[in-house]
């Protein structure tokens, strides 16, 4: 995998992870182009598209788009499930994760991602093992993620990413 981007329906970038060396300028350009392309697509369309010489795999969870760029020989379907497993990990860790959790605890979202994927490859696919590693770290720190306070203008960000069924 070359990079992963999380962005909202409004096109706001929530998390970016790059597994190839690129300048900040290039990263911004890629992000802008890709966010536009993906947001322009209709709901029932296919989750894969060719983009430059890469394959893009994306999926929307409630208000957030998860978008990965993979190489020619990589497997699209397994990448979709990488995204899903990451959402599950976030959901389990935060307890019904919503977009706001990721905004306020962005550093946690990065830590969880690093335990799961490293250098663009799956490092540990077991949910239990990943969460155990993160929880051990939390024990060292003795704090849990910050509570999201409810004085925001929109309830949209509070929709659980992972539907219960």
């Amino acid at each position: 995998m070359q990079f992963m981007l999380l962005f909202s329906r409004q096109g706001k970038l929530r998390l970016q992870k790059w597994y190839v060396p690129l300048s900040d300028k290039e990263k911004k350009k890629i992000t802008r182009e890709l966010v536009q392309t993906v947001l322009a697509r209709k709901p029932k369309m296919c989750s894969f598209l060719e983009w430059r010489d890469l394959k893009v795999v994306y999926k929307r969870y409630a208000s957030l788009y998860f978008c990965c760029a993979i190489e020619e020989q990589d497997n699209e379907l397994i990448t979709l499930e990488i995204i899903h497993r990451y959402v599950e990990l976030l959901d389990k860790y935060f307890g019904s994760v919503c977009e706001l959790d990721i905004i306020f605890n962005f550093e946690k979202a990065y830590f969880i991602l690093d335990e799961f994927l490293l250098g663009g490859e799956a490092q540990e696919t077991s949910k239990k093992t990943v969460l155990k590693a993160i929880e051990q770290a939390d024990l060292l720190q003795e704090v849990r993620p910050h509570v999201v306070t409810l004085h925001f203008n929109s309830a949209l960000f509070l929709i659980r990413l992972l539907r219960l069924n």
């Binding site: 894969f48 497993r85 962005f106 990065y110 490293l118 490092q123 077991s126 590693a133 910050h146 925001f152």
Partner: protein
């Protein structure tokens, strides 16, 4: 709802994020951010030493600001300080900041590397993992230099924790990807392979990515992984869905690992060991069988995971391309997916079938799905799926279905999305050329293409139709008639006018007998379009007019009238004016004979690779046009052959011409490469003919003697040779000027004839000139295309210089694009004398006592072209232990660095 927390992480950070989110406008947000930046700056600069917590909080705020898209130019030092904190959370935030915001400040890198070194040797697994994550995230060359030898040790050490091993494996992978020369193979490599047997599934999952990447580059060293991978895969595939506990994903056992194992196997040919192969075939069959079983869950995650493995298995089956039974089963399975209600599966099935179509075992099976694919092209709502359908139609096209497929693609073009029109046009043009049995169909198709999608018909396409019409005399009359009719349309595309002008100018006489298309009618028709056209088209039309004067003397007065009018002869465009003046003069002073000679019909174009195919390759990369190669193995029909060919030999396909060219070219590619560092030798030899070369170069000029030897006892008749420089038709810009005289048309048995080429290098170039040879040997026409070994280094003048001068110039050429570098494995022995001889043969001066390392070679020279001189410096660093070279070139012209680097990397 979010979880209730036990404590408060960083309250200040949360407040800041809330503030930002409550900003009503972009200006307000920037104001808030600037306020915060000022605050943090003063805190960092303040006299009071900050405690770890505050430092962490501020660094985290900076990170948040950066992730919002703002530039951050301070705080790196504070982040680095956090790395050496012994509080885990502080260290963690420090590493995160470094990972996201690396700065190539060398002082900092040293400090960061120090901190990482401490953590790696701490024997605290969580600290070690943090450090490894940081290396994997940054992956810079400096880090590779510092840790590339340490990490393999951690990876294979007996007492390393599983989680650390996992991180180490992927960390090493990242370093190998960025700096392969720094990760040296060694004793650890065999132990890494055995991680495939590890009890911990997570370790296997991480290690296999590393092994896959390493074995792509060093297949021999890692070959033992094949049998290990097969047995691991077999265990997973045959396990019950609950056996693997947490590694089972929605009732699918270890989908990620399975995919990676199948991917690893694709780096190798089918296993030679019968037992291993049998076991693998069994696995693949089981995977195909499972696809037919009822799903264990209705969740999409279940079917995705299951199908991910299935598609990877199919890729492996296609890669082996040796099991007809599996290939056909794979094709049937994909056929089912073509009609699946999930768009994703339809997309992938179309994509995967494209590669199946190129296997001779499954080509026919793929073809049975033609109606479904055509339907997909018409009805799919998502353009990316339609694109896949068009690709598949292209891939499954052969002689039997070409007419249907081309017709469908043409009708799709009328409504096709703009984004894919150009590519579709190229594909239609290629298929029409490749499978044309009758040329009238070909001409009709291309003219239709211009009519429907004229804007997307690139120059290559209309050049090509003209080349083919000129080379085939049996289609010329039809082509003239058809363009004449097409031009009748009130609004026709400019490309149509170009083709029409060219073809009527050459072959208008073939239809002039019909009073409805008499010379004057033809001329008036063309001229009625003139005023609507751009300058290049007008120029082309003027040439057509002068050709008309030659073909039809009765039009002379009318045309001279047109040329003489002010809008031509005083045209503000120099090219048009010049043509009008010259053509007018030519038509008035030259005799009929002179006119007939000057304006003679164009000679046939030399055979070469279809320029359209080349364009599609460039657009899509070589993989995308792999299909034509398949068909070469079968029969075919020659479309771009010479016009003097009998009808029997003409029954071969254009692709055949392409493939024959490629075949010949590759068989003597070796010889061609050999000529980079030498000037004399044998360029080509088969049972009939031997071609020898002697050449000499001075400044930007060269002279090449070609010796054609007839090895048989029979005479070669109609012996002709032509030399063409690639790109001349397209760009009109010549980089090489090659002059030669025709050779004697008869070569007696056992005789040798000589030809001299005078070569002038006008500017730097990368493509070699092509030599085309045609002759008759006992009645059969022989046709041969070869690359002439004229490479840019032939125009080198050696330059001697001192070490000081060399490095001064080296530094002056420091822009990134001026440098080209390649690291490659030695193809020949690394003998010093041989290397020296080659470097001297290159034409540069080999400089002694310049490089501080006596093992290295440095050379200097100036390439002389007519327009400019290009200074070039070369450095070749052999690594005897690894049998590798690093080659670096710095030249005052970017394209020269690139080209020389490519050329030379094949030499050592």
């Amino acid at each position: 709802m979010p979880a209730v927390s036990k404590g408060d992480g960083m309250r200040g950070l949360a407040v800041f994020i809330s503030d930002i989110r409550n900003c009503k406008s972009k200006e307000a947000e920037i104001k808030r951010i600037n306020k915060e930046l000022a605050n943090i700056r003063s805190k960092f600069k303040g006299d009071k030493a900050l405690d770890g917590y505050s430092k962490k909080k501020y660094v985290c705020k900076l990170l948040f600001i950066f992730l919002l898209g703002h530039d951050i130019d301070f705080g790196h030092m504070e982040a680095v300080n956090l790395l050496s904190s012994n509080k885990y959370t502080e260290k963690q935030i420090g590493y995160l900041f470094i990972s996201v915001l690396v700065n190539s400040n060398s002082e900092l890198i040293r400090l960061i590397n120090n901190a990482i070194k401490n953590d790696l040797s701490s024997r605290n697994p969580t600290f070690m993992c943090l450090a490894l994550h940081c290396i994997a995230n940054v992956g810079s060359r400096e880090m590779a230099e510092a840790f590339a030898s340490e990490i393999p040790r951690i990876l294979v050490a007996g007492d390393t924790m599983d989680s650390v091993k996992q991180s180490a494996a992927l960390c090493l992978l990242r370093l190998y990807k960025t700096s392969p020369d720094l990760v040296l193979m060694g004793e650890w490599t065999s132990r890494v392979v055995h991680l495939l047997n590890d009890q911990h599934m997570g370790v296997v999952t991480a290690a296999i990515s590393l092994i896959t990447c390493l074995s792509q580059k060093n297949p021999d060293e890692f070959k033992t992984c094949v049998s290990l991978a097969v047995s691991r895969l077999s265990r997973i595939v045959s396990s019950a869905s609950t056996d693997l506990q947490d590694y089972t994903y929605y009732f699918v056992p270890a989908p990620w690992l399975s995919c990676k194992l199948l991917r690893l196997l694709q780096c190798y040919p089918p296993p030679e060991d019968g037992a291993v192969k049998g076991r693998l075939v069994e696995c693949l069959e089981t995977i195909l069988n499972k696809a037919q079983e009822p799903p264990k869950s209705k969740k999409v995650q279940h079917s995705n995971a299951k199908n991910a493995i299935l598609f990877e298995a199919i890729s492996l089956i296609i890669h082996y391309d040796s099991e007809p039974n599996l290939l056909v089963r794979a094709c049937n399975q994909l056929g089912q997916f073509l009609q699946h209600r999930e768009t994703n599966l339809r997309y992938l099935a179309l994509e995967s079938m494209c590669t199946l179509a190129s296997s001779e075992f499954s080509h026919e099976a793929v073809k049975t799905h033609i109606e479904t694919v055509i339907n997909a092209l018409k009805t799919e709502r998502d353009v990316s799926v339609r694109q896949r359908a068009a690709d598949l139609l292209y891939a499954m096209c052969d002689r039997s279905n070409a007419k249907q497929i081309v017709a469908e693609m043409l009708s799709y073009l009328e409504t096709a999305d703009y984004s894919i029109r150009e590519e579709m046009v190229l594909k239609v043009a290629i298929l029409a050329e490749k499978y044309a049995v009758d040329y009238s169909w070909y001409v009709d198709t291309i003219l239709n293409l211009i009519r429907i999608a004229g804007d997307y018909v690139s120059e290559e396409v209309w050049y090509r139709v003209i080349q083919i019409v000129i080379n085939r005399d049996d289609v010329q009359g039809y082509a003239a008639k058809t363009v004449f009719e097409a031009l009748q349309a009130p609004a026709c595309h400019e490309n149509m006018v170009k083709v029409g002008g060219y073809i009527l100018g050459e072959f208008g006489n073939l239809i002039a007998g019909d009073p409805r298309s008499s010379p004057l009618v033809q001329f008036n028709l063309l001229h009625s379009k003139f005023h609507l056209c751009s300058v290049p088209t007008r120029a082309l039309l003027l040439s057509a007019y002068i050709k008309f004067i030659n073909l039809f003397p009765e039009t002379k007065a009318t045309i001279q009238e047109v040329l003489r009018c002010d809008s031509q002869i005083r045209n503000s465009d120099v090219e048009l004016q010049q043509r009008a003046v010259e053509y007018l003069k030519l038509s008035s002073i030259a005799s009929t004979d002179v006119l007939a000679t000057v304006l003679e019909e164009m000679p046939p174009f030399p055979e070469r690779e279809s320029s359209i195919l080349a364009k599609l390759k460039k657009k899509k990369g070589p993989g995308a046009v792999s299909v034509p190669e398949l068909d070469d193995k079968r029969e075919g029909g020659e479309l771009n052959g010479g016009g003097d060919r009998g009808p029997d030999t003409a029954a071969m396909s254009a692709s055949n011409a392409v493939s024959r060219y490629v075949l010949v070219a590759s068989s003597c590619l070796f010889m061609y490469i050999g000529f980079v560092c030498k000037n004399n030798g044998v360029l080509f030899e088969n049972q009939l003919l031997q071609i020898g070369i002697k050449s000499e170069y001075r400044q930007n000029l060269g002279r090449m003697y070609l010796f054609y030897g007839n090895k048989t006892s029979v005479q070669f008749a109609s012996f002709t040779t032509t030399v063409s420089c690639p790109g001349e038709l397209q760009s009109h810009i010549l980089s090489l000027n090659v002059q030669t005289k025709p050779v004697e048309p008869l070569v007696e048995g056992g005789a040798q004839i000589q030809q001299v080429l005078n070569i002038e290098c006008l500017t730097d170039f990368s493509e070699a000139p092509l030599l085309n040879i045609k002759f008759r040997y006992g009645g059969a026409l022989q046709n041969l295309s070869l690359k002439l070994p004229v490479t840019i280094n032939k125009f080198f003048q050696p330059t001697e210089m001192t070490s000081h001068d060399f490095f001064q110039r080296w530094k002056q050429l420091s822009q990134p694009q001026q440098e080209a570098q390649k690291i490659f494995k030695a193809n020949h022995g690394m003998d010093t004398e041989v290397l020296k001889a080659k470097l001297l043969g290159l034409g540069t001066a080999l400089l002694d006592d310049v490089d501080p390392n006596p093992e290295n070679y440095v050379c200097a020279g100036v390439i002389q072209t007519k327009g400019q001189q290009v200074g070039c410096l070369l450095r070749l660093e052999p690594n005897g232990q690894a049998q590798m070279y690093r080659l670096t070139l710095r030249c005052s012209k970017d394209s020269v660095s690139m080209r020389l680097c490519e050329l030379l990397a094949q030499q050592f």
